[in-house]
Symmetry: C2
Subunit: 217 residues, 2 copies
Amino acid sequence: MPVPKALVDATHKRPRGRPRKTLDARDDGNRRQALLAAAAQLFRRKGFSATTTRDIAAAAGMQSGSPFYHFKSKDALLYAVMEEGMHTALERQRSVALVPGHAGKEPALQLQELVYSHFEVLLGPGNDFVPVMLYEWRSLQPRQRKSMATLVATYESLWMPVLSALHASGQLRAPVGLSRLLILGALNWSVQWFDEKKSASVQDLTDAAMALFLRDC
Amino acid sequence: MPVPKALVDATHKRPRGRPRKTLDARDDGNRRQALLAAAAQLFRRKGFSATTTRDIAAAAGMQSGSPFYHFKSKDALLYAVMEEGMHTALERQRSVALVPGHAGKEPALQLQELVYSHFEVLLGPGNDFVPVMLYEWRSLQPRQRKSMATLVATYESLWMPVLSALHASGQLRAPVGLSRLLILGALNWSVQWFDEKKSASVQDLTDAAMALFLRDC
DNA sequence: CCTACCGATCGGTAGG
DNA sequence: CCTACCGATCGGTAGG
């Protein structure tokens, strides 16, 4: 698969100013973030293994060896992308699930908020980090995989009490554990087919999901 | 990621007999099928790009150049794996959906049969072909992708009349188009977490999915 | 289907 | 963060 030339801006010039003498560039985080964003986009489009560190460097306007100044290895870059994705997801989730009034709302409304923010994190513009996390597990080393699994378990744990309440009230008929797996699967798969240019919005998706999963809401 | 040594059976000896003089080995299809099975398993476990043609050759008991006697390229091997997966899926689907009495059954029962056979094709033992198809789209060339899309569209088209009937009867509340995408997503994601050694069976999954998606059945 | 091999590319590093 | 480079590996091929 050819690499789109547009990713490499040949006319780009790095800032000409000499680095401040007191500190080298390590502390500004600017270039590191550029590498992360480039890596997320490329890992998502081509997969981890098919993406070269040279692709990433070029997309961030660097030379081929420079990513290794910021990251110890290609693996470490992948892990950093996923970690950033999970931190975004956890923050967004907390912003809806841990606000004071939330636990008092109807369970169906709580689920709707979880579903909506999940779609947003998955499908929002520039959110390549979470899709990479979902679809590149294989490429992680065992230690990294365990570490990511912890973050994911934290994220998923907030769904359980909501689903249990819905099951108790009869609005959710399927077993709670399998429901969680099937529901999250339905949502996660949307990264394969969602097209922001087409008709359905994140709100449309949320409404459809709620109508599909719950008896009434 | 290290390649498990167990895949390469160092003590394996190819049959010593000289090839029949009238035809070379091209016609028996035996070695070709061994390559396909090995490729499916490795593509699934490590991904297309991280799998080398040498991995595949070794897993099939061949030397490194030999896969190219059977397949023009690594790409062609991937496509052949996916094609076999889709043919399996289409056959299985036809065996439940196109039998004489099927169209007369209740729509909920028709859906249940579709869901069950979908899970079977996805999760059955040795069925690495379909998961590779689902998760390696990126690695196909545009022409191959279009060709696969046709097969997938054929497969999915059988779901639409069933979902429409369920929508009309009120058993499925969400819009039919989005329902199809969300339902198939929920099923397809199961390849990420299903473990045949653990409790839930394909029948359990089918029951849970039906309870999750339909109002009553 | 094997042997022997090629050209290209890749992750990573030393030294500045 | 760049330059220059290395060792290893990879998809694929010629000739049998």
